[in-house]
Every structure is written in C-alpha cells, then in structure tokens.
C-alpha cells in the first residue's frame, strides 16, 4: 500500500495511553478506550482458562478409555469450558473490546453516552468472573453449560449456585454495554452522520445490543429460578414436584439462541469493515447488509425451539421452529454473498486482517450450511446430541466469531496501540489457526455423523483415528492462538510507530491520531459522505 512507504510520523505527544499513569488511572478510568483495554486483558485471561479446559479434554479423548481424567472430572471440564468461553470470552469479546473502543470513535463523539456505567459494567464482569472461578476451584460444575433441569436444580452436588450467580452477575455487564451502545448510536452521532452513512460495524453493534438488552434479562431470571430451586427444592422446573423441565429449556434457549447472534453479528460487522478496505471498494449492497443485521436480530428471537426438537416439544411447534430456522439462513447468506460480491473486481491485498476475514467467510459458511442439517426436523433427530452439533457450533463460534475477533484486533491494533505488528507473523498465525481449526473440528462432523455422542469421556475404539486427528488439530490451533499473543505484546513496545490511517481506510476512527487522544477528536468531526467511499478516496489520493 502506498501509505506504508511514508515516513512514520512523530507520535502525537498526548494520547489516551500516556494521558495519565499508575494503576488508579486505569481502574478508575471512564475513558471508553481504556475500559476496552481492561476488557481485552480480562477476556484474554478467560480465553486461556477456557482454552486450558479444552486442552485437557482433547488430551483425554486421544484414547477410547480416556487418557487423563475421571469421567466426573471430564463432565466438569466440558461444563466449565462452555461457561467460560460463552459468557466470559465470546459474548464480551467483540462488543466489550472492539465495540467499546470503536463505537464512540465511529460515531464521532468524545465517549459513550454513559461512561461511568461503562466502567461499572467492567467491574460487574469481573465480579461475575470471580464467582465462576471460585466455583471452578471449589469443586466445579457438571451440568453442561446449558444447566438442564432437573439435573442441575435437584440432583447434582456441584457448585451450581455459585456459577449461576456468576453468570447472572455477568449478564448485567452485557445489559449495560448493550444499553450504552443503543443510546450512543441514537443520540451521540456526529453532525452529518445519518443512519445510512454509519459504518456497518455500528449497524451490527446496534443489532447486537438489541439482543443483549432483550434476551439477557430472561437468562438472568431463569438463573435466579434455578438457584432458588437448587437451594430450596421448590418445584419450578422439577417434574417430581409438579414443575415443568421444558419450561426451563424454553426460557434458557430464548436467551441462548439469540446469544449465538450476540457472538456472530459483531464478527460480521468486523468483516464488513475489513473486506471493503482491502478490496478498495465500496461494500456491495450497503443497505441490505445493514438490514440483514437487524433481520438476524429479530428472527434470532423466534427460532429457539430448534434446540428442543427431541426434548418433548410438540411436533407442530417443531415444524414452525424448523421453518423459522431456515428463514434466518437468508439474511446470513445475503451477507456472505455481499462480501464476496464486494471482492469481485476489487483490488485485493492480503494483509493479515484480510486473511482473518477470508477465513471467517469460509468457516462461517461451513458452520451456517451445517446448521441447515440441524434445522431440518428429520436429520436433527439423527444428529442431535452428537459431535456434529459440537462441530457445527464451533464453526460458528470459533471459526466465525473468534476469527472475526482476531481480524478486528489486527485491523484496529495500530489504532489501539499506536504500533504496527509484523505482518508476516500475523499472516502465518492466520494460516496456522485456519488449518488447526479445520483439523480440530472437521473430523468431529464425521464423528457426529457416525453417531459419536457429545459429552462422553469414553468412545468406541473405531473412533480413535478421528479423535486423535481432532486432538492434533487442537494443538496446532493452540499454537496459532499463542503466536498473536506474543507479537502483539511485543509490538506494543518494539513495533514501528503507526500513522493515523495505516490501511488507508475510511471511517472516522482513522481520521484521528493513533492512538487517539483521550477526548478522541480535537474537534467533533462533520460527516459529508457515505461510508466506504473508497473510490473517492483513491481518486483524491492519485
């Protein structure tokens, strides 16, 4: 790129990183950018915790009789892996880190609408995380991350109450983040920044926030009911006492299905920023991509029953949920087609963020298409409860959401840190992650199709080859995740100084210095053009 050859500018003397020093200036900050970094450190910590549970599971599964742990321990491993990864990494990942950092910059304001609430959300997150870590140390939980009743509420002797409290508390951090984004996007946009001039990342943050504020409270009340039933043995979800376990599943999936879109919509937003930048083209079908985010958020609330096809829900309800689940594939497919159409005749450069975005498109497409197998009533009866499901949702949540998260981190890292990372290492890491991921999870599709059930510590000997492949892939994947950790930390001190707009991207966040000053902009910007005006940018640059 032409800008890369420019002399590095002298770093602006005052920015949000060196505006103030000492631990107090971080722990009591109300600056959205510093809070984003607090979240970045916290969720990286939880990612490593959750990852280490996965490592132990994959080691155990190298042998049919279990290579490492007792079955009881294995149950706790997959439960904690799920709980930590879902609520303490994936859900906060893009919204709380990149969203916190970028939403005010992208709308052209000095901060989010409620900066103190933003800091409070981080503290709530940490308290919830401590409860969860306590439950892990105090004996763990063995219910699966889904807490199905009546096992979770009446029978298990593990730390259900502590972990329910932890997830309950963390939910309020999500709610506050979502609330803050909705209000900020409505009320804090810079002059001239109309809804249809907003970057698509903001649209996806907006859609995500709607889900966060509507769905999370339902999970919260459900967890309260579980904890109460566990503590007092009242029959809300326990059939033995007149309760209805299916009601629990309805309430749980009413949150937890939309939660999948909390994870994937932000990643779609990131990809919608990266693709036009590295194809040097306006995004194809801006409005349709924007509306498809909203459509996913709305439809996402109407498909929860597809998790319950085999748990005693009425067949007619199943039919309708199946139909609605097929419908939600439409806006998802629209996005994929629009990204690929954007690439068509673009002048594409394969910088590291672009590699992650391309990885996202491929893996998300795989995950999405295999979702259709599960949305069909008949095939779901065969595949439900097998490794096919495990592979499917990892393709969405790891192949999709984590790839998007890493792509976003690489794309905005020069803005966040004011430094550049070594592109060669970043490209290598992207390739290793892509290969490691597929090696880990593709065999699981086959295992599931052949009938290997999920959540078992043991398996028949004929499944060993595929399981060993999957464990080997997990090792590659783990190495792939460690490499960015090393060079990104390295770059904070030794990386070349980044100019304000190293990628030549559009968007208000690139118009201020890198890293931005505490108040983001010396003067509140005025927006006069649509998002992704890359053609105009190129013309002006020549």
């Amino acid at each position: 790129m032409s800008t890369a050859t420019l002399e590095p500018r002298v770093r602006a003397s005052r920015n949000y990183l060196n505006a103030d020093y000492g631990w107090k200036s971080w722990l009591f900050t109300v600056d959205h950018k510093r809070i984003a970094l607090l979240y970045l450190v916290s969720i990286t910590f939880f990612f490593m915790i959750g990852g280490s549970f996965a490592v132990l599971m994959r080691i155990n599964l190298t042998e049919p009789q279990g290579a490492l742990v007792q079955p009881e321990t294995y149950n706790k491993l997959f439960t904690l892996h799920g709980i930590v990864m879902v609520w303490f990494f994936l859900i906060p990942s893009i919204p709380a880190v990149l969203g916190n950092f970028l939403v005010p910059l992208m709308v052209g304001s000095r901060d989010l609408a409620f900066p103190k609430l933003n800091l409070l959300s981080w503290y709530i997150f940490i308290v919830g995380g401590l409860f969860t870590l306590y439950s892990a140390i105090a004996g763990g939980v063995d219910t699966g991350w889904t807490f199905y009743t009546p096992y979770s509420s009446m029978y298990t002797n593990t730390q259900v109450t502590a972990v329910a409290i932890g997830v309950f508390i963390t939910g309020f951090s999500s709610i506050l983040t979502g609330l803050n984004f909705i209000v900020t996007i409505h009320k804090m946009r810079a002059p001239g920044l109309t809804w249809f001039r907003m970057p698509l990342f903001l649209w996806s943050m907006y859609a995500t926030s709607i889900i966060l504020v509507l769905a999370t409270p339902v999970l919260a009340i459900t967890l309260v009911l579980i904890a109460l039933e566990h503590l007092f043995h009242v029959g809300i979800f326990s059939p033995g006492l007149g309760g209805d376990p299916l009601l629990f599943q309805h309430l749980f999936w009413f949150y937890s299905h939309p939660a999948v879109y909390i994870m994937i919509l932000p990643a779609m937003g990131v990809v919608s920023e990266i693709i036009p930048c590295f194809a040097r083209k306006r995004i194809f079908g801006y409005k349709i991509v924007a509306f498809s985010s909203v459509a996913i958020a709305v439809l996402g609330f109407l498909v929860w029953g597809h998790h319950m096809f085999v748990t005693g829900q009425s067949v007619y309800a199943g039919l309708i949920f199946s139909l609605l689940s097929f419908l939600i594939a439409i806006p998802s497919a629209i996005k994929v087609f629009n990204w690929t159409s954007t690439l068509y005749k673009g002048s594409i450069s394969y910088e590291a963020p672009m590699l992650y975005a391309m990885g996202f498109i491929g893996l998300f497409t795989m995950g999405g298409l295999t979702g259709l197998f599960l949305a069909s009533l008949a095939t779901d009866v065969h595949l439900n409860g097998t490794y096919f499901i495990v592979a499917h949702f990892h393709y969405i949540m790891v192949g999709g959401a984590v790839m998007g998260y890493l792509g976003g981190i690489h794309f905005w890292w020069p803005k966040i840190s004011g430094r550049k990372y070594p592109n060669g290492w970043a490209a290598l890491a992207a390739a290793i992650i892509f290969i490691g991921f597929n090696l880990t999870f593709f065999p699981q599709f086959i295992l599931g199709y052949l009938g290997m059930p999920r959540r078992y510590a043991f398996y028949p000997a004929e499944f060993q080859v595929l399981n060993v492949m999957s464990s080997a892939g997990a090792t590659v994947l783990g190495v792939g995740y460690l490499i960015p950790l090393v060079y990104l930390i390295w770059s904070m001190r030794y990386g070349p100084i980044a100019e304000p707009n190293p990628w030549g991207a559009t968007g208000l966040e690139w118009k201020t210095s890198s890293p931005p000053p505490t108040e983001n902009f010396a003067e509140i910007p005025v927006v006069t053009e649509e998002a992704y005006a890359y053609a105009a940018e190129e013309a002006a640059g020549d």
Binding site: P217, G242, L247
Partner: protein, 228 residues
Amino acid sequence: MTDAEAHAQNAGLAHQFEDLEQQQETDALGIWVFLVTEIMFFGGLFASYAIYRWLYFAAFQGGSHILDIRLGAANTIVLLASSLTMALSVRSAQAGNRRALVLFLVATMILGGIFLGVKAIEYNQKFVEHVVPSLDWAPEGQTLARLAPGGLEHAQIYFFFYFAMTGLHALHMIIGVGLLLWLVVRARKGNFNPHYFAPVEVVGLYWHFVDIVWIFLFPLLYLIGGRY
C-alpha cells in the same frame, strides 16, 4: 457559545455531551431502554406464572384466597399515591421549586416505606400460617382446607411465585427508596434547576415502572377465581 463555555456554565453537563438538551434526551432514552430490560426480566417470571396458573388453576385459586386482600388493596392505593407525589416531584424540579421538590420526594419515600412495611406484615402472616414454600410449609386447619382441593404440592408452586414476584418487586422498591434518598440529598444541595433535572426524571420513570409492575401483580396474585 463554544464547547468549553457550555461546560463551564453548567456543572451538570457531562464532558461527553455538547449541550444539556442532548444530555437530557440521552438520559431519557437510557432509562427507557433500561425499563425494557426490566420488562423482560419480570417477563420471564410472568410467563412462568401464566403457565403454572393454567396448569394448576385450582391450586392458584386456593392460594390466592389465603392472601389478605385488604392489605393488598391498601398497598395498591399507597403505591398509586406515591406515583402522584413522584410526578409532582418531577414537576417541582421542572419549575425550579426546591422546597416542593424535597417535600414531594420525601413524601414518595414515606409512601414507599409504608408499602414495604405492609408487605413485611403480609410476609409475616405467611410464616404464621406456615405457607412459606420449603422454609416453613405446613399449612393446617382452615388454611389447609382451602389449599387441599388444588393439591398441596401445587399450592406450594403458587406461593413460590407469590414470594418470587412480590419479593423481586419489593427489592426494586428498596432500590427506589435508596435512589430517592440520593435525590433528596442532591435536591437540598440545590443541584437541580429547570435546565438540569434529568436524575429526578429518570428516577421518576423507574418509580412509575415499579408501580406498574404492582398494578399487574395485585390482580394476578390476589384476585384469582372470583373471590368477592
């Protein structure tokens, strides 16, 4: 007026806003979004209530007839009165009448306190009648006779909902009284003026929301099955 001047003139204007009008609109939207999350939070309980009421109507009817409808009705009136005083507080803040603002805020707090006191008496009655699910569940005599037709186990579910729903509501009341106390302190200091009274408005909306929840809880819990 430049930005710096705008901030220097109004101590209540936070740094991220351009002017007080933007701040007021933002605060108002913020509380409305928060109330939506509250509706979803209570909504989970209301949905569960609806399902069990449909499944075990007789038990819910029997349980409902044990509640003291006079206390429930009195509390409804107390809460509606507190909504009036809360609305008058907002109006006083808008008019810049500090004395009236403090007065109406204190009145709202007292009415909220009365509601919680009556609720405590009602909770105590449940212990006297041994109809507290799990903790003290041994209804006898007249109580037992009323609950028996619907099945004791299912009546326990009714009382679980009674405690969960009114308990969650009471928790919101306690938080509301705390917020009112904070407003009284700020109002006495003269923090509010006709241009800046967003906190009063925001707490007011919260208070009205909590009242409305009770307006639904009262008939759903106390008035099942044509008792009078």
